[in-house]
């Protein structure tokens, strides 16, 4: 549905997006994942024709955004909830947008009702909380009843209630058969909402796959083993060239599955108390894959370590 072909965007010397190609399937929620500064928002702006790509192109249903007639009816987008005139009422904001694409005014009240803003429709948008602004942004995105929806970091800065609401909303949109492309820097969030993932780092594609594949490929699978004969087991496993870490209570084995570990233990007549495969957390997986491509490394980790050590 959305197809990017070697999309490139350069701001002076900075290469914000570099030769990025990906596709977003119709009727599914696709996550757009990357650390802060990876080029997600720039890519979103290029999809909407707001920024001109330095190279490459992006199409929606085979058409460039510029060639869409009354584009709000095809693509709805929420890039930033604060893109509203603070002194304009929520209803007036939606009214001018509706008018621009010949969307009937009755639709304005419909979408306000959908996002639960009917009671504050006449109030200045500048007085809205972030959660309310986000709802207004979603109402604006839904205005043309579009097939394709783009959301840029929709849960950023929201309280748990707001996050839950957005999450439910995404599911509902997907159930209605719409194509949803949503960016985030949190893999855990994406794992709950997206069925596919486009992962980028420093403006380049890292992977495109189903969320499940990404997570299982990314997370290094380890096996936790407890045994009264831990030292013997450790030697046996190391001889079989498995990676072994752990303390005097349990071993954490990597590079070998639980079947093989059980067999090795049996062959060496070692008693096992526990043999449990561990799946890595999503954040770990994400960090592992994008680790090299974080644009702004902070010295914070090292500093924290330093402080902890000097405190000892």
């Amino acid at each position: 549905m959305i197809e990017a072909i070697s999309l490139t965007k350069r701001y002076g010397k900075t290469l914000a997006v570099n030769n990025l190609s990906f596709s977003v399937a119709a009727g599914q929620v696709t996550g757009f994942l990357g650390p802060n500064g990876a080029g997600k928002s720039t890519t979103m702006r290029m999809i909407l024709g707001l920024d001109n790509p330095t190279g490459g192109q992006v199409t929606i249903g085979g058409k460039k955004y510029h060639d869409l007639k009354e584009p709000l009816r095809t693509v709805g987008a929420l890039l930033d909830a604060k893109w509203v005139h603070p002194n304009r009422s929520a209803r007036a904001h939606l009214q001018w947008m509706a008018k621009s694409n010949r969307i009937p005014t009755t639709r304005v009240d419909e979408v306000l009702d959908t996002v639960g803003l009917t009671s504050v429709a006449g109030k200045r948008a500048g007085g809205f909380s972030l959660g309310m602004s986000q709802r207004l942004g979603i109402a604006a995105a839904l205005l043309g009843d579009p097939e394709v929806l783009l959301f840029d970091e929709p849960v950023n800065g929201l309280d748990p209630e707001g996050i839950l609401w957005i999450r439910k909303f995404m599911h509902r949109l997907a159930e209605e058969g719409r194509t949803v492309f949503v960016s985030s820097h949190l893999l855990s969030e994406m794992a709950l909402t997206a069925s596919n993932l486009v992962v980028i780092g420093r403006g380049q594609l890292i992977s495109q796959s189903s969320t499940e594949d990404f997570v299982s490929r990314a997370a290094e699978n380890t096996v936790k083993v407890r045994s009264p004969q831990l030292a013997e087991l450790r030697d046996a496993l190391q001889r079989a060239s498995a990676g072994v870490t752990g303390d005097d209570k349990a071993l954490v084995v990597s590079g070998m599955d639980s079947d093989k570990i059980g067999e090795i233990a049996a062959a060496n007549r070692i008693v096992l108390h526990e043999l449990s495969p561990q799946t890595g957390s999503l954040e770990q997986a994400f960090m592992q894959i994008t680790g090299d491509s974080v644009e702004y490394h902070t010295g914070l980790d090292a500093e924290a370590q330093h402080v902890l050590e000097s405190a000892k």
Binding site: N52, Y65, H66, L79, D80, N87
Partner: protein
């Protein structure tokens, strides 16, 4: 027409245009009252003097209104939403320029006729009124001049994008730069003849001869051509602005 309606909703759903319109009217009509009251009884109140508030200060406020109509869109990023809704940017921006110009036209006419009416009311024996073509040009001409000024301000607003910057440029240029150009030795006066606000003044105040009120324009153009020249300058500015807006990342 649809895009004009969009811009109408945008403009009138915020407060600053209403304030600017009110201030323009207050300046134009208020100055007429002050000048009518202050002119000595033995010297008649002239038409240019009556309209001084509108031609000198009303214009400035109208340009603030017009510039803000664009720069606030950049300030609050609604310009991005606008371009999202209308990806071919020029029609959206032209609609904005046309709408703001129409609003300025209406305000200009109300201001001019309001000022004249008040002047006639306060000085009934001074022969003030719409007797000649020049009188008509003086009064009814304020609307078109306001409209063209609005287009210029919209164009500059698109180019500069920042409210403070655009307004400062417009006001400094309008209130000072054109007059100061005359101070350049030898060529100053020749350049001044062709500067847009000076030419616009020619359309409004006509041939020299007015005793009171604003100094007459030294433009060699006839009033009709003066208006056409002023409009031409505004359109060129707008075209440049549209070209830039099209290429630039929103």
């Amino acid at each position: 027409m649809n895009l004009l309606a969009v811009e109408r909703i945008k403009l009138f759903s915020t407060r600053s245009p209403w304030w600017c319109a009110l201030i323009t009217l207050a300046l134009a009509i208020g100055f007429a009252a002050i000048i009518a009251g202050a002119t000595p009884a033995d010297s008649p109140l002239t038409m240019p003097a009556t309209l001084y508030g509108g031609t000198k200060f009303g214009v400035a406020v109208i340009m603030v209104l017009a510039a803000l109509a664009v720069t606030t869109e950049y300030r609050f990023n609604t310009i991005r939403t606008t371009f999202q809704a209308v990806p071919h940017r020029s029609p959206a921006l032209i609609a904005k320029a046309v709408l703001v110009a129409l609003v300025a036209l209406v305000i200009g006419e109300i201001a001019a006729f309001g000022a004249l009416g008040l002047g006639m009311l306060m000085r009934p024996n001074d022969g003030l009124g719409l007797h000649t073509t020049q009188d008509w040009l003086n009064v009814a001409g304020l609307g078109p001049v306001f409209a063209i000024c609005a287009v210029l301000a919209v164009a500059l607003g698109i180019l500069v994008r920042h409210s403070a910057g655009a307004i400062a440029l417009l006001l400094i240029y309008n209130l000072a730069v054109e007059d100061l150009v005359q101070l350049i030795p030898k060529i100053g006066a020749h350049i001044h003849q062709w500067l847009p606000f000076n030419v616009a003044n020619k359309f409004l105040s006509g041939s020299p001869g007015a005793v009171d009120g604003p100094p007459s324009s030294d433009s060699p153009l006839s009033p009709g051509w003066a208006l056409a020249y002023f409009a031409g300058v505004a359109i060129v500015f707008l075209l440049v602005a549209l070209g830039v807006a099209k290429k630039r990342d929103a």
